[in-house]
Amino acid sequence: MFNKGSELINLCNEKQAKIFEIVIEKEQKTSGLSYDEVIKKMKETLEVMKSSATSALNKEIVSVSGLTGGNSKRVQDYKNNHKTISGEFINSAMAKALSTSEVNASMGKICASPTAGASGIVPSALLAAQEKLNVDDDMLVNALFTAAGIGEIVAKNATVAGAEGGCQAECGVAAAMAAGAITEMAGGTPSQALTAASFALINIMGLVCDPIAGLVEYPCNLRNASGVINALISADLALAEVQSLIPFDEVVEAMYKVGKSLPESLRETAQGGIADTPTGRKLSDEVIK
């Protein structure tokens, strides 16, 4: 068992194991399921993620409220037909993140990772990395356990709810989970994985939760698109052996404190930030009526 990042790293060192191995072992112990059953369950999760990350790429999907839709396909088409600024890889990852966001907003099936609002980041980051690293689905399943282990530490010591900690707790934590998972999948050590997770959290520390009309759509979908990029670059930074001056556990604690000090208007109440702009309010009146 582990509650802190430091405890997780100690366990990895003691057992000469990767993070995902520790997390799988713990899952078996607490659930009473066999190794095969636990893996099978995560494979099903991966299938849901793959489907949500790809189904809006070529088909315009509009949200229940009508506020957003079609952006995944826009980015996908743009990437296919234009010389992009940030390159094919980045655009492809963003299109996948937007896809899950749009599937979610249209009452499609997604896996909360760690929440529904942030559900685009982990799938798109892992699928993007899979392409680059040329690894099979079994490696992705393992990476999902790494991601879950990192998310668990944040859930235990801070929060993964926008209403409590702002968007840093949703899209920030999702990016941290993905960054750590990719880092480990790419051959990084457990402590490099936590370093990547720290970077992802540091990069967006303070990010507020301000969805228009209180709906999980906008700016949520933009933050899924930027969140996957945050995850990818944080992994690269850690793999390049850039050191985190602040240990992961302290970063998590800082994130929690920042979240607590955000005014309520910036914690999912739709009373501040983008939601509280004149146009945000107008759009809200239109979709809520």
Partner: protein
């Protein structure tokens, strides 16, 4: 510290867009209908707080209807629930209401029957798809539906608690929580269990004298 499963963090697998306003709403509907029992021809939903404000955009209405039809929060038929209700001749109505000092994501669900009195269940979606049922037909209760649950209503008398406990103990079912409340001389017992309620236990408890109401809810949070 609460222990998490990897599937609490990467999960639930659900129909979007919101774990509290969609997945939680579907669970509320589902458990409410299990408490009320089948055969209703109409269901009226009184939406409170944030549920009232954002229910259309979050599909809370569709999720609630899916729930009372017995669909799970991860069922892709959820978004077509209105059509399914229509095909089953079940009418639904949504009313924005102030339910008093309730959690902002609360709903009162009133089931209407041709052959008996209305039955209502009130509950809240408390985040991450988790819920709490807090009122059944005017009786304050508190349970989450995360465990198999037995609900009993009976004219209060000595010994009921110990008899129920021993039936469960004999069946090797561990009691997670047991709460008994009394109004007038009618007692309501809510008993949450660590494992599924077996048919034998259901039979044995159903044999009790003078039970005004009895329900076994075996759904477990997936």
């Amino acid at each position: 510290m609460k222990e998490y499963s990897a599937f609490d963090i990467l999960g639930p697998v659900m129909i979007g867009p919101s774990s509290s306003h969609t997945a939680g709403a579907a669970r509320l509907g589902k458990i409410a209908s299990e408490i009320a029992g089948t055969g209703f021809y109409k269901v009226v939903f009184y939406l409170h707080g944030s549920f009232a404000k954002t229910y259309k955009g979050h599909g809370t209405n569709k999720a609630l209807v899916a729930g009372i039809l017995g669909l799970d929060p991860s069922d892709e038929k959820l978004r077509d629930s209105f059509d399914i209700a229509k095909s089953k001749n079940i009418k639904v109505e949504f009313i924005e209401a102030d339910l008093g000092y309730q959690h902002p994501n609360s709903v009162k669900i009133v089931f209407k029957y041709h052959d008996k009195e209305d039955f209502y269940v009130m509950g809240s979606s408390i985040g991450g798809g988790s819920i709490i049922i807090n009122n059944i037909n005017g009786v304050q209760v508190e349970f989450t539906g995360a465990y198999p649950t037995i609900i009993l209503k009976y004219p209060d008398r000595k010994g009921v608690i110990s008899v129920i406990s021993s039936i469960l103990a004999n069946a090797e079912i561990n009691i997670a929580t047991m709460r008994v409340t009394r109004e007038g001389n009618i007692a309501t017992m809510i008993c949450e269990l660590d494992s599924q309620i077996t048919d034998d236990v259901i039979k044995e408890i159903s044999n009790f004298k003078d039970l005004a109401y009895i329900r076994f809810i075996n759904t477990r949070r997936s």
